[in-house]
């Protein structure tokens, strides 16, 4: 039972990571129709920036500043590279971000070295929460809390701010939003920055748990894709659900059949595609 509990908790944490990654990806796909292959590398950059910043501003400072810098970096990349391919065949945006991912990975390797690095976290966070629940450190609880705050923040941003509302409207009907005089190009840039912020945040949190290495984002990108596919096209709530679902499913599978842990998320995807092709919360007619 304890093992199940442990893995359930673990699954929620892993799922929370998938959610952070997948929400960022999903935002960009919904508004710009670009699958950002380099999203995992934005995550790594967020983590490495935190590593560099921690000695000066501490973990707490880095937790805030590093995602912001990642967002700025994302904004810059969108301006310089990504925006040139919006009007073109989707294959170009895939290839572009695919190549970008290669470049960023080598850049991280060049700046911070190829060997794994640890990210120091405050002592209080590395303690277990109780004697009996020794397997759950405060850091894990903290991570889940940060993810909850970030996700709530994102949904509030989309609902209550002007830019957020425009992003949501643009997701539903870009032509109309454009016809209403909204600057779609700028909107896509902001949106890309928001997505990058989420990746950067995930990077800091992940670095505190598993440390840093140049390809740390690679293992997270595929589950994020699956979270989006399972959750449903065009639905952020769906992505949220999809991420948690596959995180928990993978963790629980570990209890009973460890070798199948990675396979199970693909199985879930196949089942969803078979019986509900538009995904759990995908909208009818948005099978594009």
């Amino acid at each position: 039972m304890e093992l199940v509990l442990f893995n359930l908790a673990n699954g929620l944490i892993v799922g929370a990571f998938y959610v952070l990654m997948a929400l960022g990806l999903s935002l960009i796909i919904n508004l710009s129709n670009v699958v950002n292959f380099a999203h995992g590398n934005f995550l790594a950059i967020g983590g490495y920036l935190a590593f560099t910043l921690t000695p000066y501003i501490g973990f707490w400072g880095a937790l805030l500043v590093s995602p912001l810098l990642t967002a700025v970096f994302g904004y810059f990349i969108e301006q310089v590279l990504i925006r040139h391919v919006y009007a073109r065949n989707h294959i170009y945006s895939l290839l572009l971000t695919f190549g970008l991912g290669f470049i960023l990975q080598d850049v991280c390797r060049f700046i911070w070295g190829p060997s794994p690095l640890p990210l120091g976290i405050p002592d209080i966070l590395s303690l277990p929460i109780t004697e009996e629940l020794f397997f759950i450190t405060w850091y894990r609880v903290f991570m889940v809390a940060v993810v909850i705050v970030a996700v709530s923040g994102l949904f509030a941003f989309l609902r209550f701010t002007r830019v957020g509302m425009r992003i949501r409207a643009g997701t539903l009907d870009l032509d109309t939003v454009s016809a209403l005089g909204v600057n779609v190009a700028a909107l896509r840039s902001y949106n890309f920055a928001v997505g990058s912020f989420l990746a950067g945040l995930a990077g800091v949190l992940a670095a505190g748990q598993i440390g840093l290495n140049p390809n740390m984002g690679d293992d997270l990108i595929m589950p994020s894709f699956i979270a989006i596919i399972v959750g449903g096209v065009g639905s952020l709530t769906g992505t949220l659900l999809g991420g948690l679902l596959i995180g928990v499913a993978a963790a629980l599978t570990t209890v009973f059949y460890p070798a199948g842990a990675e396979a199970v998320i693909y199985v879930i995807m196949a089942i969803v595609l078979l019986i509900r092709p538009r995904g759990l919360l995908g909208e009818e007619g948005m099978l594009t």
Binding site: L94, L95, F98, I229, A263, Y266
Partner: protein
């Protein structure tokens, strides 16, 4: 259509003259024939992929799966069933092709980036299976323990095991049959519906073409050919590599196609030449090969999106 110096017949003549004389001129340029074998195998994979991307307008980003399944299918068959090279190639082609046909069923209703995402995910499934199931597939180290054997045609024996040149001509012969068949498909009524779907899916649907069925069939055909290329890839080094199943390999196939020219028949072959040369050169020059390969991807997308053949034809044509 376009009466220019790159007319279809002339292209055909140039391509085959160059391919058939490789063992004579490549060593003079400092290359070796096995390198040319790699080019031809990648070219076949990319041309098969291009049936989808360039001619049906459908974007798969997971063709490494069918390529890799072909390689493993061929290798496993030769290792555990019988050491016949031709039967191995057949087995690999069937394994990859049938897997693609089944996956295709789940794919056909998706479009655009979602189609790409699902194909990537399916590709990774195959990668994980090859990676995890080590007692059978060799896991991370790849599959060894099989070797191409001489082929006995009765009248004469083609020793593809000992002679690199003989093996090269074996690969080129299969390549010729495969792309010849592809050309016939593209010229058929079915091939024209592929073009129609690429050009305007809505119109095609309103003509009464059952789009989903056609995309499925095109996907399936493309996977069979890609798996054939994968089988040959396994014979190239007598080795099946799990990285041949990885999404990075899928990206390479896409890149080869785009770099050469995705709207042209021979573009992927040209792309394969460029790609293999670049890969060979960069990996011998620097350890930061990812950086340079990535840079090439970005540069091609931003500055040469039509690919080399596309640019040549455009210049010569209109």
């Amino acid at each position: 259509m376009n009466e220019n110096f790159l007319s279809r017949h002339r292209q055909l003549l140039i391509v085959w003259a160059l391919l058939l004389t490789v063992p004579f001129w490549l060593p003079m340029l400092g290359g070796y024939t096995a390198l040319a074998g790699r080019v031809v195998v990648f070219a076949l994979a990319a041309m098969s992929f291009n049936l989808l991307l360039g001619f049906t307008g459908i974007m798969s980003f997971g063709h490494a799966a069918y390529f890799g399944l072909g390689a493993y299918g061929c290798g496993l068959f030769m290792k555990f069933v019988t050491a016949s090279t031709l039967l191995g190639v057949l087995a690999g082609t069937l394994v990859g092709g049938i897997a693609g046909t089944l996956f295709g069923l789940l794919l056909v209703r998706r479009r655009g980036v979602y189609f790409a995402m699902v194909t990537i995910a399916f590709g990774q499934v195959c990668f994980y299976i090859a990676y995890k199931w080590d007692e059978f597939t060799g896991g991370y180290d790849g599959l060894r323990g099989f070797a191409r054997a001489p082929i006995d045609f009765g009248i004469f024996k083609l020793d593809i095991a000992a002679s690199n040149n003989a093996f090269y001509y074996f690969v080129v012969a299969i390549f010729g049959l495969a792309v010849g068949l592809q050309a016939l498909i593209l010229k058929s009524p079915f091939g024209r519906t592929m073009l129609a779907i690429r050009e305007n899916e809505r119109r095609a649907r309103f003509l009464g073409i059952p789009i989903e069925k056609h995309i499925w069939l095109a996907f399936s055909i493309s996977c069979f050919f890609t798996a054939l290329a994968g089988s040959l890839y396994a014979l190239l080094n007598n080795f099946a590599d799990p990285l041949g199943l990885n999404y990075i390999m899928s990206g390479n196939i896409v890149m080869i196609t785009v770099m050469g020219g995705m709207r042209t028949f021979w573009g992927p072959l040209v792309g394969a030449v460029l790609f293999v040369a670049l890969q060979d050169y960069v990996s011998s020059m620097t350890t930061n090969w990812m950086f340079f390969v990535g840079l090439t991807f970005v540069a091609v997308v931003l500055f040469f999106p039509r690919g080399l053949m596309g640019m040549l034809q455009k210049r010569a044509g209109t």
